[in-house]
Structure formats: C-alpha cells, structure tokens
C-alpha cells in the first residue's frame, strides 16, 4: 500500500487527467454523436450514406490506431493542436492531451450515434401514426411524441458507451498523457515488489468510477422510464 500512499499526489493527478479526458470527450462525443445520428436517420440519402460509411469505418478501426493518427500521423499533414496550452493547477492540457481528446471523441461519437439510432428505432411505429392522426405537424410529432421517447430509450446504451469511454481513456496513457494507466505503469516500474498492491488500488478506483457512472445512468433511466 505504501507504494501508492507515498505517491498519493501523483495518483490523484493521474486520475484527474483520466476524469478530465472522460468528461471532455464524453460531452463532445454526445454532441457529435447526436449530429451523426441526425444525418443517419435524416431524409437526405447522401448524408445518411456518408454518415453510415463513416460510422462503419471508425467503429471497425481500433481506438489505438485512431489515437496514433491524431498523435503521430496528424502533425505530418498539419493536424496539430499546438494552440492548446491550458494550465489548471498542476494539470497541463497541451497538444498531446487535445489530440487524445479528439481521437477519443471521434471514436466514441460513432458509438453514441448507433446508440441514439437504436433508441429511435425503439419507438413503436404506432406512436408516430397516432401523433399524425391527432393532427400534429412534423415538428410537433417530433418534439412532443417521438424524440422524448427516443432519448429515454437510448439512456442505457449511451451509458454503456460512456462507460466504455471511461475505460478507453487509458489508451491515451499509452500515447503520452500521464493519466491513470501511465501512472500505474511507471509506479510498477519503480517498485516491482508492490506490483499487486498498485494494480489492485488502481483497478478498484476504476471499478468505483465505473460504478459511479452506471449509478447515475440507472437513476436517470429509472426517472425517465416510459410506461410501455
């Protein structure tokens, strides 16, 4: 246990990076995922095809390859984030951090898109027909009947996507952001004898973080449950 307690400050800083990566890419991926889903289910065939191709391609590429693209290949074609240099206390959000956030967002938003689409598919057709039958115009049917149900139905899949994102932040650690994974690796490197204790501590903190997210999602899901 000493191995972790002696370096408590470093461990805390590492998990701050993890949480920051998770929160920023989480919010961004929700925004872009929703946008993609809108293209995907929209009436414009060209956009829907293009979004489908994009989503299929990104979903089937390993996250690591996407992060390598933004971290290592991107700068060669002028995709860099050198303009980003933010300091929050001891935390430095620089171009590496930004590249990882962008990679995580690109990857996760395709999964968000599919999750939201499954939510839209879960709305029974009869609901839309009923909305039209009582004379609601398109915008009214969307606003009052279909989208609220679709959003509620997509809470569980979107939550699993976000939990996966939380665990995926560790991949950023393999590419130079000093978050939990990278910190764990360096602590074990310095003190091989306490390997098991270090791993268990980091693992348990991750279990707790995952439980916090899924607890929040469960509360939301229960509050938003639709009577069927």
């Amino acid at each position: 246990m000493n191995a972790v307690l002696d370096n408590l400050e470093l461990v805390l800083r590492a998990f701050s990076y993890t949480v920051l990566l998770f929160l920023i890419s989480g919010v961004l991926s929700l925004v872009f995922g929703t946008l993609l889903a809108a293209f995907r289910v929209g009436p414009i065939a060209v956009l829907s095809r293009a979004a489908a191709v994009y989503v299929t391609a990104i979903r089937n590429t390993p996250l690591l390859i996407i992060l390598i693209f933004f971290r290592i290949a991107g700068p060669k074609v002028g995709i860099n984030f050198n303009f980003i240099d933010i300091k929050i206390g001891d935390l430095t959000l620089n171009n590496l951090f930004a590249a990882c956030v962008v990679g995580l967002t690109v990857y996760t938003s395709t999964f968000v898109c599919e999750a939201i689409r499954s939510g839209i598919n879960a709305v029974p057709l009869g609901q839309a027909e009923a909305a039209r039958a009582i004379g609601l115009p398109f915008s009214g049917a969307m606003r009052e009947v279909i989208l609220p149900q679709a959003f509620r139905a997509s809470v569980p899949p979107v939550a699993s996507v976000q939990i996966a994102l939380l665990k995926n932040t560790t991949v950023a650690g393999a590419l130079g952001v000093f978050e939990a994974f990278a910190r764990m690796k360096s602590l074990i490197n310095d003190d091989v004898a306490s390997r098991n204790a270090i791993f268990l501590t980091f693992a348990v903190i991750f279990v707790v973080l995952v439980e916090v997210v899924s607890f929040g999602a469960n509360r939301l899901e229960r509050r938003w449950r639709i009577a069927r």
Binding site: I65, F181, M184
Partner: protein, 287 residues
Amino acid sequence: MTAPAVLFDAPGPRTIARHRLYTIIAGVALVAVLAFVVWRLYDRGQLEYAKWEAFLTPKYISALLLDGVLVTMKMALSAVLGAVVFGLVLGAGKLSDHASVRWLSWAVVEFFRAVPVLMLMIFIFFAYGISRGDSGAYWSVVIALMLYNGAVLAEVFRAGVLAVPSGQAEAAYAIGMRKSQVMNIILLPQAVKIMLPAIISQCVVALKDTSLGYAVAAPGLTKVGQSIYQGFGNQVPTVIVLAVLYILINLALTTIATWVQKRFVGEKKVLEVSMVGKTDAGSGLSV
C-alpha cells in the same frame, strides 16, 4: 431501416423537391471535403511514391499479412476461445443455486468488466510476461483479452440460457432429468445457437483490442505498422493502410455474424447484453 418510417411521412412533391436541393448541397459539401483532404495529402507530400513504396514491396506486404494480420487473428482467436471457456464457467456460476458461487462469479465478472483491458494487460505483463520475451508479451495480451471478454461472454451465456423458454427446463425436470442433464442436454444446445452471433461480434472487439498489445510491445498488425513507419517515416500512409486492414477483417467477421444470425437464430430477438459488440444497428461498442 425502420427509422424513417417512424420519423417521416411519405414526402409530397414539394418536400421531394426540397430534399433534392438539400441532396445537391450536401453532395457538393462532401465532395469539397474529400477534395480538400486529397489536396492536403498531396500538398504535404503524402501521396508521393516513396511514402507508399513499402506497401508495394513484396517483403513488406508479406510482413503485414503474415506477421501482422495472421498473428493478430491468431491472438484474437485464442483469446476468444479462452474467453468462451472462462465465460461458460462464470456464466454457469452466476446461474448456480448456491448463493456463495453466485456471488463469487458476480464479483469476478464485475471486476473484469470494469477494469480497463490495458491496465489488466500491463499488470499481467509485469507479473508474468516480462521475463519471457516475445511470447510473454503475446500471452499477456491473450490472457488479458481472455479475462475481459470472458467476463462479457459470461453475461451473454447467462442471457442465452435464460432466453430458452422456461417450459423446456420444466418439461425436462418433469421427465426426471437431473440439474446437470437439464443444463447439458436441454438448455445449452438451444442457448448456444442464440449466443453464436454475440460471440462472433465479440471477436471484433477482441481483434480491435489486440492492437493494445502496442503497450507491451506484443507482435501483431499495429507493431508491424509501427516498425514500418519508424523505418520509412511514412506515418500517414501506414495508419491508413492499418485502418483499412482492420476494417476489412472486422467487416468479414460482422458478415459472418449476420449470416449465422439469419441461419441459426432467425427472426428471434437479438440477445441484449450491454458491452457486447452488436452485429448491426444496435448499440455496438467495444474495449
């Protein structure tokens, strides 16, 4: 595609005209984006022959296919086979009548599902693989993926057994079968059929995750790619080639899963287990 049926009425003539206008605008925008990407690649010299030469040289092609694709598939396959066994044990444990076994299996499943694969991988590497060179790295990846995917498949297995109509088990008990017989003769064969597509989809997840072996210098496609771009300095073309290879393998797997779904499961509902890579429109996810 049921979504448009929910969201839209059949469009009238004016709406069709409007959509045609949007289509043209969107098409032009997309073409412009693509053209910009190609121009950027050209402008930064990424389309030069020297950068792509490696992918036209037989030596590197065979390295990519043999040391890359083949090793990656071998890793993913051994991980999934191990995961199926591990998942069967844990899934059976979660369905056990003994509360202690149930709780233990539940705890193991929750632990391995919540811990990032990469952390698990590096821990196994330090604990076991570091002194064993290349094969140590290889097996660290396989074992980590086995534990994670096994925990996910345990849920698939449980859901599969529970999806068999309860009358089946009741009838089996009624003709005097023992618990193990009911499981092995009646429930498992029916459950396996329902589980197959989910297991194949999980292969996609395992295959993508083998790339994480990068962190422990394990062999595989990503490693081969890394040594190619370090040698040639052609990062952009290499990443594109790697991505295309991964996408092709995964699409092949997805096609097989869809075919198995049609062939063995038919129109029945797909198993809904969170964290499993789904075959189609559902909520697929990974890692």
